[in-house]
């Protein structure tokens, strides 16, 4: 990854809440633990030595339980909270040292924020609320209203311009909140538990909407959540925070297959891992069971129940039942008739196919070449592990 791909990079950021952050900072650099610092000075550590980067155009989810510092983290990006030490770069420019005016500019142009509590202004209409950020930036009424209307149309609220927040349902209010953030056309969208206050159906609808908007506009989104289902559904990459520290960063698959510690593991406890694991993550290739069909009868090792035949290009031709046709000498094979399973097919779609097949499911890459097989016992083992 080159630095041009990074839109935000965070380097050794600490945030200490309390009256004497310097004392606490000194203790931390001397190697004291967070607990010691709290007991000796009464200073609470919000973020502890965070270093990571957010890539351009991705949905980056910061996950953690309450008190893990995730909401503090997101407020450090637009400096609603000032970091105690460390630096944050936006597009290579350090935003931690910006003067007031430049900081206002960053907030107005680069970052849009959506809040858990919606935080709409009750005395403004939906249109005025949406145009709020533009109004603050001093954009003329005509232009800001037309841009606000566009943003409202994007979130499916066209026609509601003249309603007031109290007349709308929670889901609609949060759409206004989203439209308000989008109207500025910010480089980065910061979403602080934006959907946590919504009921499950509306929440999943809004998640879908967000995924759609992101796919259309390729905007970088930093999303805070405490809900693993949500994080996995919308996040390209997830950072897990515990007690102010970033414990692990990775794609959902990486986190579920190689959790860094028990904290990460507990997050996925009870999570239906068949929904994020792909067939390719579990499939294994046993070279003994695959033979090329080049005119002569293929030879399989005795004892193997099934063999797979491929052509010169690696394409799967069919399956040989070795037990009935014998270990060698037969060119007779059954064609694999089932709906093909590819490496990126979600595991939960493979379950039914595997159940109906007598032999392990062959897994293909997108060109149709055999990359591995998936037996029922492999599937069961994988699912029981998580």
């Amino acid at each position: 990854m080159t630095s041009a791909d990074e839109i935000i990079s965070v380097k050794n950021v600490f945030k200490i809440f309390g009256a004497q952050p310097e004392t606490a900072m000194k203790m931390l650099t001397a190697g004291a633990s967070k607990k010691e610092v709290f007991e000796k000075t009464g200073q609470v550590i919000g973020v502890f030595d965070a270093s990571f980067a957010v890539k351009r155009g991705e949905i980056f989810v910061i996950m953690g339980l309450s008190g893990s510092g995730k909401s503090t983290m997101v407020r450090l990006f637009n400096r609603l909270i000032e970091p105690t030490s460390g630096s944050i770069y936006l597009n290579g420019r350090e935003i931690t040292g910006l003067a007031d005016k430049a900081l206002l500019d960053v907030r107005r142009k680069e970052m849009g924020m959506v809040f858990q509590s919606f935080a709409l202004m009750p005395h403004m209409s939906v249109l005025e609320n949406t145009a709020f950020g533009l109004e603050i930036s001093g954009i003329s009424e005509k232009e800001r209203h037309s841009r606000a209307r566009e943003a409202l149309a994007q979130v499916g609220l066209a026609g509601q311009e003249h309603s007031y927040p109290h007349q709308l349902s929670g889901g609609m209010q949060q759409r206004v909140g989203l439209a308000r953030a989008l109207a500025n056309d910010p480089t980065i969208l910061l979403m602080d538990e934006a959907f946590s206050a919504l009921d499950p159906l509306i929440r999943s609808e809004m998640q879908g909407e967000l995924i759609r908007l992101q796919a259309e506009q390729k905007r970088t989104i930093i999303f805070i959540s405490h809900d693993i289902e949500e994080a996995v559904r919308i996040g390209h990459r997830i950072a897990i925070m515990e007690g102010g520290q970033v414990v692990q960063i990775g794609t959902p698959q990486e986190l579920i297959s190689q959790p860094a510690n028990d904290y990460v593991r507990t997050f996925f406890k009870g999570f239906d891992s068949s929904r994020i694991l792909k067939a390719g993550d579990v499939a294994r290739l046993d070279p003994e069971s695959v033979r090329k069909l080049n005119g002569q009868a293929p030879q399989f090792k005795a004892g193997l129940p099934f063999g797979y035949l491929i052509d010169e290009g690696g394409q799967l031709l069919g399956v040989v039942d070795i037990d009935t046709s014998g270990a060698g000498g037969s060119t007779h094979y059954t064609q694999h008739q089932q709906h093909p399973v590819f490496t990126d097919t979600p595991l939960h779609e493979v379950l039914e196919i595997a159940a109906n097949l007598p032999y392990p499911v062959p897994v293909l890459d997108r060109s149709g070449a055999l990359t591995g097989t998936l037996s029922k016992s492999q599937l069961l083992q994988t699912l029981s592990r998580h």
């Binding site: 637009n78 609603l80 206002l104 500019d105 960053v106 907030r107 107005r108 970052m111 849009g112 924020m113 809040f115 509590s117 935080a119 709409l120 202004m121 009750p122 005395h123 403004m124 209409s125 709020f132 950020g133 109004e135 603050i136 930036s137 003249h162 309603s163 007031y164 007349q167 308000r180 500025n184 910061l190």
Partner: protein, 317 residues
């Protein structure tokens, strides 16, 4: 002079507070006469303007205009209330005195708003200022009016202007307190959202804090108005005219009739002003989609001329 005793040290050790105040006052009167003249001037101008206007409107026209204002602000019941209270004021024969009192009250409320709202805003911004100002406000509210009536007379003389000054002293605190409270009570998430979108402190104040604090500030204005009304009676002791003067004269001459008429006039005026300002406060908290020009006589006239109704409206106010 008696010997110093530990059991009763205050026979000897005393602070001559009274003497200090007197000499300070004498000093001020002798050296700063021009400053006090200068303070009188703006109050005099505003008061004369308001009183001249109110006195020159004929009673019938005044009643009709107030009723229309009541209708505009809070609907037809309010209009009826305005009509009844003002008509009663005329019927008991105190119209002119009421207008003088109204002018005094409006002038002092005007100056209270001029001083109190900015002061409240500053208080909301600075905890230190609030800490300093709070005992001062307490003193202003609890100090008996008679205590500062005398120095005010020495510095400003007698008449309506010093009357307004003592009224301001008494009526200012609730406005400062409630403006401060209103701004401090603006929900944190709204403030944070405004900051996140790049509000300057000034934009924060005018676009977020003041609009959201308006109902509370209006409640403060209502309190200030009521306190002014009660103070103009006491201020009549330093020769302030109007209804208070009637009450004072009635008491002085043991003329119960005159005192009762003056008192009734004050109560009627109080009901009128209180309901009207409360209605103004309630408006700011009401459905913001309903603009003021959609209701009341203005809305009525606009509808007559075929103006469009706002969408989604269920009933006329």
């Amino acid at each position: 002079m008696s010997e110093f005793s530990f059991l009763d040290p205050f026979q000897v050790v005393t602070i001559p507070l009274g003497d200090w105040v007197e000499s300070t006052l004498n000093f001020l009167v002798h050296n700063f006469r021009d400053v006090f003249r200068a303070i009188r001037w703006p109050i005099d101008q505003v008061l004369n303007g308001v009183e001249y206007t109110l006195q020159s409107i004929p009673p019938s026209i005044g009643i009709i205009l107030s009723s229309l204002l009541g209708w505009q602000l809070a609907g037809k019941r309010m209009a009826l209330l305005c009509f009844v209270t003002l008509t009663l004021l005329g019927l008991i024969g105190v119209w002119s005195e009421s207008m003088t009192t109204l002018a005094l009250v409006l002038t002092s409320v005007f100056f209270c708003a001029l001083l109190g709202i900015p002061l409240g805003i500053l208080c909301a911004r600075s905890d230190n200022l609030e800490r300093i100002l709070r005992p001062v406000l307490d003193a202003m509210q609890t100090l008996p009016a008679f205590v500062y009536l005398v120095p005010v007379v020495m510095l400003f003389g007698i008449g309506n202007v010093p009357g307004i000054l003592v009224t301001i002293v008494f009526a200012l605190p609730p406005l400062v307190r409630l403006t401060n409270l209103g701004i401090r009570q603006v929900p944190e998430d709204k403030i944070e959202a405004a900051r996140a979108f790049g509000c300057t402190p000034r934009q924060m104040l005018t676009r977020v804090q003041l609009p959201l604090a308006t109902p509370t500030i209006m409640a403060g204005l209502n309190q200030t108005l009521m306190l002014s009304l009660s103070m103009v009676v006491i201020a009549s002791m330093i020769s302030v005219g109007g209804l208070g003067q009637m009450v004072l004269r009635g008491i002085g001459r043991l003329d119960m009739g005159l005192a009762t008429v003056g008192g009734t006039g004050l109560v009627l005026l109080a009901i009128f002003l209180d309901r009207l300002t409360q209605a103004m406060g309630a408006r700011t908290g009401a459905d913001p989609s309903l603009r003021w020009y959609h209701t009341g006589p203005v809305g009525f006239v606009l509808r007559l001329f075929g103006a469009k109704q706002p969408v989604g409206r269920s009933k006329t106010a």
